[in-house]
Symmetry: C2
Subunit: 397 residues, 2 copies
């Protein structure tokens, strides 16, 4: 039988990253491809203890639950956000099945086919997948190392009258960039002036390398809480398996997202919510995050050192101040997707940058993750990779 | 700020049942409203043991995972389905965040706005919510106690050229009905003849009251595996909190749903998948299900006895052969939504039948759940409710 799919699936491409993960998981490959935290650093004992407490809290923790999320868990989330300057009440918070679902639900309730969202370029590819699957018209805004360029942002807001602006201002995926304070302020200003929603995706904000630097979430600047939706997750700071994130924003939008969530999956795994509630209450998550920062920073430096060893015109990279990724540019002539075969043959994987672009991909870019591999593996993999790169660069001359 | 939502949200109504749950959870009310299993019967020890084993299986169980679901878990699901005559390989199975997500993903990949789905009437209201949220045109097929009436089904398949037919053939929600074997065969026959997908939603099939009766899933009749998508869940047989279900069907459709799932929530909570895998391997789930059958059957009989005590023209109900619900009809003149206030004041809740209808709701119908309340509460609640009903019926004469 030939199956007639909906029009929207023609826009639906499988994530290159996730398909790659399957291949990589099968072999003995050093992977800089995924966006995985290091499982060696998972706070396993804390998570186990938290589940024990969840079980002790009674059978109610195993029953159907409210779509909005467990109320004491939302309170704990509100407290955590308050530490970053984001004010909220539990009614402004919806617990989601990972922050991926927050992007999906928002898009579902906000965008008709042809409505416009502005994004950075490149940007998180699974956000692009969501936008495309709802036939949203994605328009990229020019960026530099400080964030979106104000002139281009202003022009495109005027020209396209977007419903929302999707940004990852703190240690973005894929580029690892952090926006300057001024650019954040400007974005909020234009959003307020033109009544556009900012969707601030912040899975990496906690993973910062310099304790003395501060990156204020745009949601914290939006003191009236009218223009910013803020989403984050426990996938990077606790464990990914629980698929538990949240979104905070204007009540009217959160309420509508909760209604959409009812139809999508009724509610997020409530045993995991109970467990995370206990973990937030009884475990020193901030101290654990400090360990993550230190460890990931030292791995970033190992990777940086080896990238520095490549000294060729046209080869460049952004040194991240936090998060999980290096963004690397090769000379224009080099197609990194073809190069990937060679790298995988030699036992190392990365992700080509192309799928992160809204349009006209820059085929000479790639993303490297430094959080997943232990230092010795990281070093070994980077030695191979820099060799692959150097050979290519030498041959390309 | 005034927020401009997508057109599809105007079709999105909050589920009357789930909103009701919130009120009921706050008060000291005996509830026949939700579709909740009894938490007193949850296999708590088995679930705890299963989580212990999942934790022991290593940190990998807490990492990001494949969208399709944990392979050994899908194998265990395939084995369970095989017992019911449904043949599958793990590639035909997608693990979903509850079977609700299976309905959502299927609708998302299959239906453009205006495409038609045929359903029973009344039918599962959260399926109607999904269809409506994607602007699917839902057309009801006339049914009797045996299932969809063949003539009407044939006519409507011809007339509307539907993309799919959504059915809950075994102990349906809300009516508790079970389709006859002949009607199942007829449905499959017409689906094959006209190339229509059957979406068989089967969360209740395991909860049957007579061991000697057999209800063959339509998916088991579809020996070539080309025309039936079959979804079920562990929410009714293990616990609901884990939000873990699955869908089985033609690889091409399952593959497309997996792609849609990537954009929706990346993958289902993998710690829960690991735990359920261990539970299926080490716990005698079939014996547990036998206990559920026996217990729920005896509660159904308590409810039946009290319903029998109402002997008035125009009052009727369907005696279920399994599942979780009685479907009750009052005389035409009685609006059960108004009557609900009176019932709740006296400490008992039920769900009006209206939201389960595709169109033209029969305002004199209601659904009663008998699985959630322990026998003494069930009896007490039903005594109050039959009193409320009898008073109304007497007054209405």
């Amino acid at each position: 039988m030939k199956y007639g799919f909906a029009r929207r699936v023609h826009k639906l491409k499988s994530s290159a990253v996730r398909d790659l993960l399957k291949i990589i998981n099968q072999g003995n490959i050093i992977s800089f491809a995924g966006g995985l935290p290091d499982d060696g650093l998972f706070p396993l004992e804390a998570v186990e203890n938290a589940f024990d407490k969840a079980f002790q809290s009674g059978k109610q923790a195993l029953q159907y639950a409210e779509t909005e999320g467990l109320a004491p868990f939302r309170e704990a989330i509100a407290e955590r956000m308050a530490k970053n300057g984001i004010k909220s009440s539990i009614d402004d918070i919806l617990v989601t099945t990972g922050s991926q679902q927050a992007i999906d639900l928002f898009t579902r309730i906000m965008f008709d086919p042809g409505d416009v969202v502005l994004t950075e370029n490149p940007t998180y590819l699974a956000a692009l997948q969501v936008f495309q699957s709802y036939e949203v018209d994605v328009k990229p805004v020019l960026s530099d190392e400080q964030g979106m360029i104000p002139e281009d942002l202003d022009n495109k807001v005027k020209k396209y009258n977007p419903k929302a602006i999707y940004v990852i201002p703190t240690f973005s995926n894929p580029t690892g960039k952090a926006w300057s304070h001024e650019r954040r302020e400007h974005l909020l200003e234009i959003a307020k002036k033109r009544n556009v929603i900012i969707f601030e995706d912040d899975p990496y904000g906690e993973i910062k390398f310099d304790d003395n630097e501060t990156f204020v979430p745009i949601a914290a600047m939006d003191t009236e809480g009218t223009h910013v939706l803020y989403t984050s997750t426990f996938s990077k700071t606790v464990v990914p398996a629980l698929r538990t994130g949240w979104i905070k924003g204007p009540y009217q939008i959160i309420r509508m997202m909760a209604q959409a969530k009812q139809a999508t999956d009724l509610h997020t795994n409530s045993l995991s919510q109970h467990a995370l509630y206990h973990l937030l209450r009884d475990f020193d998550l901030d101290s654990h995050i400090k360990t993550l920062r230190k460890t990931y920073c030292s791995r970033m430096k190992i990777m940086k050192e080896l990238l520095e060893s490549i000294n060729m015109p046209g080869f460049s990279y952004i040194v991240p101040k936090g998060g999980m990724f290096f963004w690397v540019s090769m000379p224009d002539a080099i197609n990194v997707t073809s190069l990937l075969d060679e790298a995988v043959k030699r036992g190392v994987a990365y992700v080509p940058g192309a799928p992160f672009y809204v349009d006209k991909p820059e085929l000479n870019t790639l993303r490297l993750n430094y959080t997943h591999s232990a230092p010795d593996k990281l070093k070994k993999g980077m030695e191979i990779l820099t060799d692959v790169f150097s050979n290519t660069l030498t041959n390309a001359k």
